[in-house]
Symmetry: C3
Subunit: 203 residues, 3 copies
């Protein structure tokens, strides 16, 4: 199914983003592999633990681990081989991964018969959890929390998904609507450097 391939694609992309951050922090290759693994499966792992759907998904689907291994290796080679000017593709690929993970998290929670508001939360956790873990391990405030429209795009995708589920749309329609909404908002935000206004303290 398309969603499975998108899931694998998202896993590979998140692994690559882990390796990139590891490179910025001058880690060694195995450190990079550990960081890539945390980024790629961190969100889904916390989701499965919270839902009690254990062993978590990658324990019996070893494909994820091999994808992370391959993607990390490819990124390490690419880091050393290609000029940094090519890296503008990464945020776009990351947006695709994020939008897919949002839908996957929500659908998985729905299968376990969970209230729809919790499904949205599980989607956001799946989409943002890995990146948050990556940034915490790299000792910086998670990007998700800080500057760009990221969690917001997830939330919008989740709301559209709930709407589609409520009007009893077929699964592929609600999934597609969720993915496209989140993706579109995120891409527009990247392209135009949009962010929400910061919180203000009264002086």
């Amino acid at each position: 199914m398309l969603i499975t391939y998108l899931d694998y694609f998202g896993t590979a992309i998140f692994a690559a983003s882990g390796v990139l951050v590891a490179g910025q922090r001058r880690m060694d290759p195995f450190g990079a592999l550990v960081l890539a693994t945390c980024t790629a499966i961190g969100g889904g792992t916390i989701r499965d633990m919270a839902l009690g759907d254990t062993p978590v998904f990658w324990v019996h689907q070893v494909a994820y681990l091999w994808i992370i291994l391959l993607a990390s290796f490819a990124t390490i080679v690419a880091l050393w081989r290609f000029n940094q000017t090519r890296w503008w593709l990464l945020p776009v690929a990351d947006a695709i991964g994020m939008a897919t993970f949002m839908a996957i998290g929500a659908i998985k929670a729905q299968h376990l018969d969970v209230p729809l508001s919790v499904c949205i939360l599980m989607g956001i956790l799946t989409a943002c959890g890995g990146g948050m873990l990556r940034d915490v391990l790299a000792n910086r405030v998670p990007l998700v929390l800080r500057q760009e429209i990221y969690a917001t795009a997830c939330l919008a995708g989740g709301l559209v998904w709930v709407l589609a589920v409520n009007v009893a749309a077929p699964v592929w329609v609600s999934t597609l609507a969720c993915v496209l909404t989140a993706l579109l908002i995120r891409l527009v935000a990247i392209r135009h450097h949009l962010s929400l206004p910061k919180l203000m303290y009264r002086r």
Copy 2:
């Protein structure tokens, strides 16, 4: 029951403290909401995962999520509306939340037939876990670990609770004893800026 209302109150207060930290770090409103959620339900979530009592508590009690949403929104408005001189109330409210969460964590663990020493640990985890997660996400050493009598107050509450359980006191007595002990020690520590002596290295 009183303990349920105190639990909701504690959740709201911890959410507010998450928003305050988000404001200090200049996050956007959705980042603040994510941080508020991690602070308010982080400790209890880890507790439930460790005890294997899954899905974790908020999956089927959506009230918690709405409380977090409301409390965060109210705090964002208050941040922008009120002068910072009013914020001295927050540590006091946080102490109430901490003391309540300590009792709730211990009681929940006891229901699952866990040794009393582990009950204390689960109480401390519930009371301190959310704040630790908040500070880690905001990229600073958790306050709990650093300076004030916080974990110590939890521990004292826990020991009093074990004592009360051992003499077969009614549930409301042991709960109240735990909450009041932890709260009192914490309030005294706040008022008089008490802290334990730091660890020393021999030179």
Copy 3:
């Protein structure tokens, strides 16, 4: 059994390393105790949660908590009593703990009928997870990711273990082979300050 004693020994050593980091960050004794607990049982706790083997191991084996308490107390006293020149023993003891935890994590996962590649991952998680948690709470990039041959030594131990399991070696042989391989590589790395080359960005 020997492995149980090594496990207790590893727990005590990791607790001590938590207290040492707490001392560097000028935490108070209870903060140190919390950090020691996270370091000593953090990796195994995440492993048990991911495997769905809950309640996690220390809930019904309270011995671990007492060992942490004793080891932390002893380390606090030692910090204040002994000159820092004696501390070179700690990395060696930490290597023993790491190698033991690697084997224990892998064996535990194997008992739950998990693919061998996931067993290796669970071993690495058990051996490195606690130290990563410690460093994140102390607000620094985990040492494991950064500089020395640590995860690499775990991985080597894991590969030797898989080899031994595949040729149907007795449990004590595969365990010993895993522990000795990981320990040897780590000790050599400590002695000669070896590390893998850092990731490079093309300029």
